[in-house]
């Protein structure tokens, strides 16, 4: 960073440095230190707190002696300032360096925007023999611009009807969400507005996408399988013929620490359980014209899982993937793909991987409720191919 740029982003301590009188027994201080906070324009991790004007003898001694963390903590510390304006007894961990007649402290983790920190320079007379005035300042990076609170943009399945053994919901957000306690902000209300007890599966680490904009909530599978004890004692979390509401409460904190813009409700009616495995024979493929970039579309007789539809269905030409723009709509009963390149003649097949599931977790040829001891297990990567032919060129 150039000196000009650094200068442009230099932030004087938020409060004036407080110079403390040296102890009476000390000789007259020979340095007059000043604390500054330097903010890197683009890289928060490169911002640092410095004390300049520490005196040449002190600077040389610090360079020569290379103090350890314990000694540095006697020289210069930065601490979190509490809401009561008291400095935390534990100094922040970071790296120290000497630059000219300045000491630079770079915290291991970037300082929080808007948070106040106490920086205190005690001098290094015990190392250099050079006395110094004490310096203390409160420093703070500018608070982040007020961010628009995140809101729920949608929930899949998007239909207002789901089977009694519905397995999961995907909750989509307009921006990144925070890391604290997600499931406690999701509740299931019955048609009298009463919360269903413990319908969902708690998971360590929680189930987010990389951007933290999609949260997956699974129903507890013990409640979703007929005949086993949780299900026999408590029944399905959902009961056929009844209306339910998935409620996302506003207190859920987003990635900027704000509560959601508003709570969100999705109401739906519950149908009979879906116990049947998927069967591609019932899928209706509408092939495109050769030479066109028309979409190929597939209509399913029931909604399939939104997340899996986006990656577990594809088109292959002569056994090679055809790449294009995938869309899922009509309450997850239609999958379309517009190819990047016009359709060329060849052997085409729609392929569905073994991992594809419907709303109740049923897979191709394998229902969620596996009861057969002859079952061979799951094969996520199994390829189920449905050949199709292009229509003639227009």
């Amino acid at each position: 960073m150039s000196a000009q740029r650094r200068s442009a982003f230099r932030i004087q301590a938020a409060a004036a440095a407080v110079l403390l009188a040296a102890a009476c027994s000390r000789p007259a201080p020979r340095s007059n230190p000043e604390i500054i906070l330097v903010q890197h324009p683009t890289n928060p991790a490169a911002s640092y707190v410095a004390v300049k004007g520490i005196g040449s003898e002190t600077a040389q001694a610090l360079k020569r002696l290379q103090p350890g963390a314990e000694e540095w903590s006697r020289v210069f510390t930065v601490r979190v300032l509490g809401t009561d304006n008291a400095a935390n007894p534990t100094p922040i961990a970071g790296k120290y360096g000497v630059d000219g007649d300045s000491v630079r402290f770079t915290p291991l983790f970037p300082l929080d925007p808007g948070r106040k920190y106490q920086a205190r320079y005690e001098g290094a007379e015990f190392l250099s023999g050079e006395s110094s005035q004490l310096a203390e300042a409160i420093v703070a990076l500018p608070a982040a611009a007020a961010a628009e609170p995140v809101h729920v943009t949608g929930i899949f399945p998007s239909s207002d009807r789901v089977p009694e053994n519905q397995l999961r919901f995907y909750i989509h957000f307009s921006g990144p969400m925070g890391r604290r306690g997600s499931l406690e902000h999701v509740s299931l209300l019955d048609d009298r507005g009463k919360a269903v007890v413990d319908p969902f599966l708690p998971v360590d680490g929680e189930l987010w996408n990389a951007d933290r904009t999609r949260y997956t909530v699974f129903f507890d599978p013990g409640r979703q399988k007929r005949g086993i004890l949780p299900n026999r004692e408590m029944g399905f979390s959902l009961a056929a013929g009844h209306k339910y509401t998935l409620l996302i409460d506003r207190e859920w904190v987003d990635g900027n620490g704000n509560p959601l813009r508003e709570s969100y409700r999705k109401s739906f009616l519950v149908d009979a359980p879906d116990l049947a495995p998927l069967d591609p024979k019932g899928w209706k493929i509408t092939p495109p014209h050769e030479g066109s970039r028309d979409p190929v579309s597939v209509i399913f007789p029931e909604p399939l899982d939104h997340g899996l539809l986006m990656r577990a269905i594809g088109v292959r030409r002569n056994d090679a993937p055809v790449v294009g723009d995938v869309r899922v709509d009509s309450n997850e009963t239609r999958w379309t793909m517009t190819p990047n390149e016009p359709w060329r003649s060849g052997d085409y097949a729609l392929i569905a991987l073994g991992v594809l599931e419907d709303l109740a977790g049923n897979r191709i040829g394998r229902p969620f409720e596996v009861v057969s001891k002859d079952d061979k297990g799951e094969d996520d990567a199994a390829i189920n191919a449905v050949p199709f032919s292009l229509l003639p060129p227009r």
Binding site: I92, D112, R179, G181, E184, G205, P221, P230, L353
Partner: protein, 366 residues
């Protein structure tokens, strides 16, 4: 040794199935730069003090060779009250801004290692801390930390949609045994609990396929229930994994049966009660007997004698009473336990929640 989810559970025992396969990721040795972790979750120690740390966000396991960073502190771990606030101060923030994700004890120094996520949203950063016998807390710097890593294999993809894949694999627990690291996880799309293994050192990666693990305690085979806590355990000199599921079957699997391409039926040896989720488990000996100590979300800490593990009658029918199989006792003195590991021959180390915050406490083994 994982984060407690505060929600309690409201169902009774559930059979569990996990898929097992060997990791097929490409290990990368990186000696110069430190590990570039995007997140930090479960921890477990391996041979020679190697610390395995799961980057759950990147579906990657790092083997951190702590070397000199494991030395220098006073041996042991002293309890620290309100340790969440002290860690937060050390990391330059407020206790509300950190989440403790795991706690483990170094097998030689007996120092505690605590994994933490600092901050919210996508700007959140991983941190690793060490607590020594004097109660001193230090950040273990990742800079130039020698390590190797293995990335878990990608989920199958049909190859047509180039959009960014939102599918992620959450890693819920890890354990090391007999040269292999075992990794339990759950996807955020397909409902498939996975148990993976990978050889360590990560010099050669295996190309296995998935194996499903069943246990048959409800008269019908169950699929895909997630393993929440597990550990290696030898029964009659045969290596096993003992795993705990939601609401709360305890199940044993012979390790030798966990072969790619086969289906494994585990044996349920205890039903430990409903509305409950296991958090951590450790083994210890006292007065000539061996016990499994297991922390839970809502049923406290259970002390389970292991001498019946070999001979326990398999539970194959629904349990009509509150619990069944091997009996346990609840350790009344241990409350609010969120993380647990064995400290030494007579004490366990725990993170327990109180009104004042999270406390690191050494507790005599019950």
């Amino acid at each position: 040794m994982r984060t407690k989810i505060l929600t309690t559970l409201g169902v009774v025992a559930l059979a569990g199935v996990a898929s097992y396969w060997t990791a097929a990721g490409v290990p990368v040795a990186a000696a110069d730069a430190g590990p570039q972790m995007t997140s930090i979750g479960p921890l477990t120690f391996g041979p020679d003090g190697v610390l395995f740390a799961a980057d759950t966000q990147a579906a990657t396991i790092y083997a951190l060779e702590l070397g000199d960073k494991a030395n220098g502190g006073a041996a042991g771990t002293r309890g620290v009250d309100a340790i969440d606030q002290k860690i937060a101060a050390l990391l330059g923030t407020d206790a509300k801004e950190i989440i403790v994700t795991d706690l483990v004890v170094h097998p030689r120094t007996k120092n505690a290692y605590i994994s933490v996520m600092r901050g919210q949203g996508t700007a959140s950063k991983p941190a690793l801390l060490r607590v020594d016998g004097a109660g001193k807390i230090e950040v273990v710097s990742f800079e130039n930390l020698k390590h190797t890593k293995v990335t878990l294999p990608n989920a199958p993809n049909a190859g047509t949609n180039p959009q960014r894949d939102p599918r992620q694999q959450s890693i819920t627990d890890m354990a090391f045994s007999d040269g292999r690291l075992y990794i339990a996880g759950l996807s955020n799309e397909e409902f498939a609990s996975k148990l993976r293994s990978v050889k360590y050192p990560f010099a050669t990666a295996d190309n296995g396929t998935s194996v499903e693990i069943f246990h048959g305690n409800h008269g019908q085979l169950e699929t895909r229930s997630p393993v929440y806590a597990f550990l290696p355990y030898s029964i009659n000199n045969t290596p096993h994994l003992v795993a705990a599921y939601l609401c709360t079957p305890l199940v044993k699997f012979p390790v030798a049966t966990l072969q790619p391409g086969t289906k494994v039926v585990g044996t349920t040896i205890a039903e430990l009660g409903n509305r409950n989720r296991p958090i951590d488990m450790v083994l210890y000996k006292k007065d000539g007997r061996e016990f499994l100590l297991m922390s839970n979300t809502s049923r406290g800490v259970m002390k389970i004698p292991t001498d019946g593990f070999a001979s326990a009658t398999p539970i194959t029918q629904p349990v009509k009473t509150e619990t069944g199989g091997i009996a346990y006792e609840t350790v009344a003195a241990m409350k609010g336990i969120e993380q647990l590991d064995l400290l030494d021959g007579s004490r366990t180390l725990a993170l327990s929640r109180s009104d004042a915050g999270l406390n690191l406490v050494a507790v005599a083994l019950p």
